[in-house]
Symmetry: C2
Subunit: 226 residues, 2 copies
DNA sequence: TGTACATCAGTGAACGCGCGTTCACTGATGTAC
DNA sequence: TGTACATCAGTGAACGCGCGTTCACTGATGTAC
């Protein structure tokens, strides 16, 4: 008999896993990715270190889950931001804003997925899949609004059009220049928010939001470039 | 009597310090910033750990030196690239290329200065000074060629024009929009090269150099924007 | 040029700390009849 | 409803490892007269 309702034990397991992940995120926020330790998490939960091995195969497995969770969480935020927009410009602005806000709200999770790779941690394939979900939000927006043309470049365009990272259901609806636009868009957003959260702007006495807005303006201006 | 020539001991000291830093950079390249350990460096030099305390006050002091060295090294690379250019466009292209090449040649040093901040390491003021030297290359280029106007924005422009990060000898020669242009320029370059060296493009099967070139094209196009 | 002293590089032991992971085990919770 | 067994959560000890840093000390190099 296959169960539909989770048993008490299953529910408890899920709760404990979530609690452990929550403490992991707190540690991440406090001491950065290097300070992420199973023992410390267990301590915070009032358990001993080895107990966590009931819930996660190893430290790397925990990290993998955190990365996938972060990608999915970010994806949801972007999806929701774009959901009720129809015009290209409004979509870009909504997405860019959501991207920045998500990042500022949880910089440590952002660092985890886009920051310096953790020493000794090799990202498994599942993280790539999760990463592509986030990218798909951008691509869908561009395909739906037929926007973002930018200057063509034969060699690059060909490479992009056959890229394995392009979702199959969007491939026919996206040109090389549109894909290039999508990549530059994400790179620009990343450039700004990563410098902002790593504190490069703190001593410069200007409001990063204003600079960000200006960059979004240029992105919007390039939306209809030939 | 003040010495002009260094004594044998002074020379030896300098050599040992340099050698230690060299090993530190190798470790950085191998295991990332978290794997940077005084003991391991000493081991690589055939010494014991405590011996290094003759040369560096602490681990943090070593890291600070590495950061400052990296900023200076990058600054020199950028300065040399721009040196013999006169036109704005040629200058931007030369600088961008040099920036990417420096980064790809030593990604770990790039991570050290622009990547995730090290846990437990608080950057002292000297690193900010070194960082501004690199920024000054960009600002000088823009001031000398009177380029990079971009769209004005009263609030942001005012904040930028009085920014403490603008070198005093350049302040009168740079408008708010020019400063904004400089910031966006660096953020875009950072966005692309940081994603490239953190491996986000490896599974996407396109040549990052082509994407980079296209971004430089848009930067050049914005050089004369009103 | 030779001797007496000061300076400095490097050692080895030690301190206290934390890590990931394995393993044999206890005790509680759930399941089958 | 009660009993016998299986499953699972969590413990505590242990392994081997590495870290930054302090300290008393040895031995070599340099300096002053």
């Amino acid at each position: 008999m296959t169960r539909t309702t989770p048993t008490r034990r299953e529910r408890y397991r899920a709760e404990t896993r979530d609690e452990a992940k929550g403490h992991a995120l707190e540690q991440l926020a406090e001491s950065g990715s290097a300070g992420l330790s199973l023992n410390a998490i267990a301590r915070a939960m009032g358990m001993t270190g080895p107990a966590l091995y009931r819930y996660f195969g190893s430290r790397d497995e925990l990290i993998t889950e955190l990365i996938i969770d972060a990608y999915n969480d970010l994806s949801v935020a972007l999806e929701q931001a774009v959901e009720h927009t129809t015009a290209a410009e409004a979509g870009i602005r909504a997405m860019a804003t959501a991207f920045r806000e998500w990042t500022l709200a949880q910089p440590h999770r952002y660092q985890l997925i886009f920051g310096t790779p953790l020493p000794g941690y090799a990202a498994p394939e599942q993280t790539t899949i999760a990463a592509r979900r986030a990218m798909k939000v951008v691509l869908t927006l561009i395909a739906d609004t037929a926007a973002g043309r930018s200057r063509p470049d034969g060699r690059l365009d060909a490479q992009l059009e056959s890229g394995p990272w392009v979702p199959d259901d969007l491939r026919d609806r996206l040109t090389g220049p549109q894909l290039a636009y999508a990549l530059l868009l994400t790179a620009r957003l990343h450039g700004l928010v990563s410098l902002e959260i790593s504190g490069q702007y703190t001593l410069m006495e200007f409001d990063p939001a204003l600079l960000f807005d200006r960059e979004v303006d240029t992105l919007v201006a390039e939306l209809t470039l030939g």
